[in-house]
Point group: D2
Chain length 445, copies 4
């Protein structure tokens, strides 16, 4: 399953200025979505494995509806929707544009068929092409911004599509493989955890929306924060490190857990990460991956953790989770997307080329997802994109092996409820106050 | 969607004596299951619309597993299962043969693909053919009886397959059509309800298992019941008659309902049968059918009723539901399966050729599903077929437009929980004691 | 806690003819209700331990409301309700007389206080006395019948009051004692189970409502049933016999259980009867009683069984539960209420004076609670007393140690859902067909 | 219901230095808890109206257990627990000291009786008196700190006791009055909303644990935050202002609500605050208070709001909720507890004597409850007091009419889940960024 569009995708976003550049980018992003489904059977596109996940077919259609609703209907004179029923079926959560199917019922949609959804995709792609050719210069920047938002949106759904498929395949009694190629060899030992220390001071957080090539509204406004001294681990924690927590009885001692986390441990009988199990015969630890159930690789980053698990592990480790501001301040100058990431649907565990490299697993922060000072929800339907979710969710920073190119940047804010366990979510330990670790090196803002 | 095997299926069961007859019947039944799926898209085979319903793919595989497990593994030396995982995936409820997937999770099985399930069907069909050729005469009657049970079982699943698909298609926000041909014309007016009266006396109920060509264990032993005088309507109640109940406020007055039924009316906001709705624009009543949503035909039998609704309607009508014994005693000499039934996936409403004809809709009785006197659960896994379900279910008698040939007989006992609303279940009024209707004619046992 | 009114209560009902007799009986029944609460703290009257149970205070008030609503408001000119709010608070399930508090919320009523409820009781008792003195002879029979229904109703609630209190006291982490006197000695060994055989034939079931001194509507009409030959155990099964089922793994093998019962065993982790546990230190079996947790007496009747448990035990025993018709036909001539019953709040296990004596524990039958042939729900609010509950409940026959005098008769039909475990409900084994036990003696109808 | 201990309570905490001062304070706090129950019937002490609320009897016992467990058992040689079972019954959530009854089952405890709980209180109070006399000087500071924590703990439960009782009384179908005295007159009109503006800058947040007379662990460490410019309303919003939101359709438009809040509005049919309703006859708005249902006073602060409602109202108002840091920085120099607060169990609506007075209603902030930089959970059981609840809860600042003396301070952090509606929780509007209100005056940190 080689990724044919890799080069294109790595091109800079370039301000979305030139029409042909944006048109090329549009086609490349759309092609990548199709490519992610290329190993799936028709049957795999239909089923919803839990209310928070969506069927692959729904991702294919919903991302297309976004372009139809917000670009074609707004900017292409005379455009008629491909199918009037799709407005209801493939709207995700935009209450202001009409009624929609309940999220938990997306799996009841056996129709339209997958074939018809692909026809819908082609129809909309052709119409976008027409639209890009007809837009007068005066409207260009508005259209380009909306189109770019649609592309970013589709890329976000690419990652969800991968994680939703993996959750579906995990739910099968025997596990289903996403990839049929050979399981990769184990990763090299990264050595003991090291930390980097940061001094106190006022830092700038977030992005200046006017100056950025692209950013979501929740990354703005750029504003100031004061940080007390802290230290961060230079890499995420590994399976081996997490296994020590599991095998020392970490899931049996309430002292490690938040109260809500401990309730969850008990009510759902959590004993280890959701994507782990022990081989019924040998007792060896296995991990569920794109290649099905494989032996747990001790040196890869632990992933598919909930916030509750990440937090408990950090407390057990004598550390804590970083705030999203500590994280962003540290990463400003040192983010390196992992070079092998493009082809991976699982963390590689290979060493980073930078002191604090990210991009293998999303990193839970202890920060609740909240509006930045001065943030105002944008007007119109697209204002529903982010702001209304700012409650009972926790911010993850960085990006994962499943994150599309261009979506890993210091200011990017991902978020999930604290019990969510199906993302490529891991943990980077932080230290502050009385648990401050001895520093190995020094960073500055 | 003509039924190519109709003639074969109408042949008498003939004691299962001759091998070639049974082999032909085996192929005919198997072909009919495929035929029932012939208008479905692959996507339609996967989804489970509620815990009590199963995906079409699951029906296709489970009926096949039944032959593999109880015929091939028992009687074909050296037979190896097609796929060892199928034992777990496609066992329905036979606890004594091993663990199995939870019923409510059958919709998570995107694999095996539909194509592979069809290969499984072909594999088993060929092995059955081999098996029928190899069985020694000494073992023939045992094998034939098990094979016949498998065929009866598959036919039962044919009806469930139809009703499960219709429920799935109903669940689609806009309804999905099962059949693409023209919606049939309205049925003729059957005229006012007439009744037939029956005298008191001891009657024989059930079937002598030794003498019958085929019957389920729950139809035996044949035994005696005393019946007080009663009367039965000569036909099921119609949509028009039920509509009068709906429009007179029947769903708003607790006086008509059993206490559990009234709870359900309130907690699930029942206002009319599940497969009815009013057109949002015209206010006209519509009914969901194999042709999607169509105008409610006043003269067809009302169907898709729960026991609660059938009971409330009967009480509102100044009548009651019959007991299953009243029903069976009345039907002994007068059952005529409706001639047009083979091609129908909806009640036709055409007049019966017999005074008390049945076969358009299943008829709720007020009898709880209970063992007959002297009934003992058969030994072995097949003993799980019926007996363990004898609790909180109510018996339906007769048969519906979706019932396969050979499954309509006076002693046949169908059963569902009182809240079930997705079968072709209707109501035939009974009268006894103080509410006895004036009789139009007289029957005798 | 001697019962001061025993003698009065054992007097025959006597047709309710004489006013003074009925007035005396009224006061005696009312006094017995108070007496049942005499060992309770105020606090014990308030709490609802599960939705199906009611607080003692609610029983005290509801039984009073019944007299106020159906006697005083109907027959005492100028009577004004004691408190207008009580109509809403203490109506149980009479939808036709107005809205009412949800059953599951009866425990939220801290007000009226217990003291005020007792004042309500006295107020109504005095008004009934006035009413009985004023009723003209022409209305007497109607008033007397309604008053008698109120008394029967209050007696039914006396039994519920006892079982609801015991369930509440069981729910306390350490158990609460209802009685403070000495725990009685163990019962004598009743010896091996013996059976009595009954021949086939037509029997009369139920009561002629016109002729009876008192019976509920659900015991009528008297009608005929044909019974095939059967046999009944001469006594209920004991703790020792049930313990053999428990210790042989009865709760771990689905083969013994109805499908719904097995689901309940798994979802609620049933391992033994609800009122049993093993001592944490000695491992000895304990039973929860009016005296708190005491050692399990091997020879007393097993009680507090659900229908599911009674049915599974019967199947494991090679027997079955009787139908309610087998039970009633057998008991017609031989019921002897246990002589020591008056003072007992637990089965005594003492030998019966009659061949088939009853009255220690309610006996589950396998009959679903269903209307008799010709039964019609009575008009008016009192028609809600029985008929609307005829769904998904199973009939118990006989009576228990907690059943008030006069409520044990062959035609009496008690009923509960199959999962109910808090009544004094046990099991009498039946035999028929292939599992017929060798008979010890012969009975006839 | 005059408060006899008012004067004592208003005395400064005085460092807990002198034994006699602490002993007096101990008795005063204990007496106030009894006083809060003085108008309750025994029955009112027993019932749990929802899982998050506790019965009054449980509050009385649990606060006593705290002293027994953490003071007497630790520091009074030879002290034996009053009742060994109380360890299980009255432990709230300290997992590290043993098993305990589930929070939702506190209402099943009819025993010990209220009388026995009061005996328990007296027993422990006498033992504390003995303990205070025996402690050697060397241990005094430790004992005094633990005792003081117990007093702060009991005071927190005093407020919960009040709000839990009010919720119970609200749950009664007709409402129950807590106070029997006359309903107070309406409050004066506070005039239009005015704001105070604050400049940007680094502020100090939290308390230096070493220097403070008393503070909870969650108020430390003192640390620095950078605040962008903002403004705060000088008073909480009123019923009249909130009513405008209700009557303009605020509960019907998803645009105002967080996504989780909107789900709650729909699933629980929220149409107005939980403690409001319209009079069934006149249509006038009523509010549930300690005096039962009374006409809504337009000028008192709106209270009993959830975070979801406070947030939606703020958004509808063109404002937002403050962060807890904005709130604390503003309040540092200007907190005035409302002078009439002592006797009030409902906000008075009387004018504040200070520019930004607080203390009538708790004020929701938009800050998730999170550890301060450098915070570490204290060792031992008391470490469970705060830290493990730091997830999916939101901080409230200030204090309410039900908050005991000494619990209103700028650094105090109260917290509840965003759906909680039964506290005296209101809203103070904040402005920042593009929605900055014109300032009326200027504040500084």
């Amino acid at each position: 399953m080689p990724d044919p569009i890799e080069t294109t995708l790595q091109a800079p976003l370039a301000g979305c200025g030139a029409r042909s550049v944006l048109a090329d980018r549009f086609l490349a992003v759309r092609a990548r979505t199709r490519w992610l489904c290329s190993t799936l059977a028709t049957e795999d596109h239909i089923t919803q494995s839990m209310p928070l996940a969506s069927p692959a077919k729904w991702h294919l259609a919903h991302t297309t509806w976004f372009f139809e609703r917000f670009v074609l209907q707004a900017f292409l004179p005379g455009y008629a929707p491909f199918d009037a029923e799709f407005e209801y079926l493939f709207n995700s959560y935009y209450d202001s544009v009409g009624t929609r199917i309940a999220q938990a019922e997306r799996g009841t949609l056996t129709r339209p068929t997958l074939e018809r959804v692909h026809a819908y995709r082609e129809h909309v792609e052709q119409a976008i092409s027409v639209c890009l050719g007809q837009i007068p210069d005066s409207a260009w920047s508005t259209v380009a911004a909306t189109l770019e938002l649609g592309l970013q949106h589709e890329q976000q759904h690419q990652e969800l599509l991968v994680t939703d498929i993996l959750h579906l395949f995990l739910s099968h009694p025997f596990g289903t493989r996403y990839l049929s190629d050979a399981v990769p060899a184990n990763a090299p030992d990264p050595g003991p955890l090291r930390v980097q220390r940061f001094e106190e001071g006022v830092v700038s957080i977030g992005i200046d929306a006017e100056a950025a090539s692209f950013a979501y509204d929740n990354e703005s406004p750029r504003h100031r924060r004061f940080l007390e001294p802290y230290a961060l681990a230079t890499r995420p924690s590994t399976n081996q490190e997490y296994l020590a927590f599991v095998e020392s009885g970490g899931y049996a001692d309430p002292a490690h857990w938040l109260s809500l986390g401990w309730s969850r441990v008990q009510s759902e009988s959590w004993r280890h990460p959701l994507y782990w199990k022990r081989d019924a015969h040998t007792g060896a630890w296995l991990e569920f991956t794109a290649w099905g159930w494989i032996p747990l690789d001790p040196h890869r980053p632990v992933c598919h953790l909930s916030y509750f698990e990440a937090d408990a592990f950090a407390r057990w480790s004598g550390a804590r989770l970083p705030t999203e501001f500590q994280w962003e301040a540290a990463m400003t100058t040192s983010v390196i997307a992992h070079p092998a990431r493009e082809r991976a649907l699982h963390p590689t565990g290979e060493p980073f080329a930078a002191p604090l490299g990210v991009g293998e697993v999303w990193e839970w922060t202890r920060s609740s997802y909240e509006a930045y000072p001065g943030y105002a929800i944008p007007p119109g339907a697209l204002g529903e994109y982010n702001g209304k979710f700012m409650c009972n969710q926790y911010v993850l920073r960085g990006g994962s092996c499943a994150t599309p190119p261009g979506h890993i940047r210091p200011s990017y804010r991902n978020f999930f409820p604290p019990e969510a366990r199906w993302q490529f979510s891991g943990v980077r330990l932080a230290f502050e106050g009385p648990d401050q670790a001895p520093s190995d090196s020094r960073g500055s803002h």
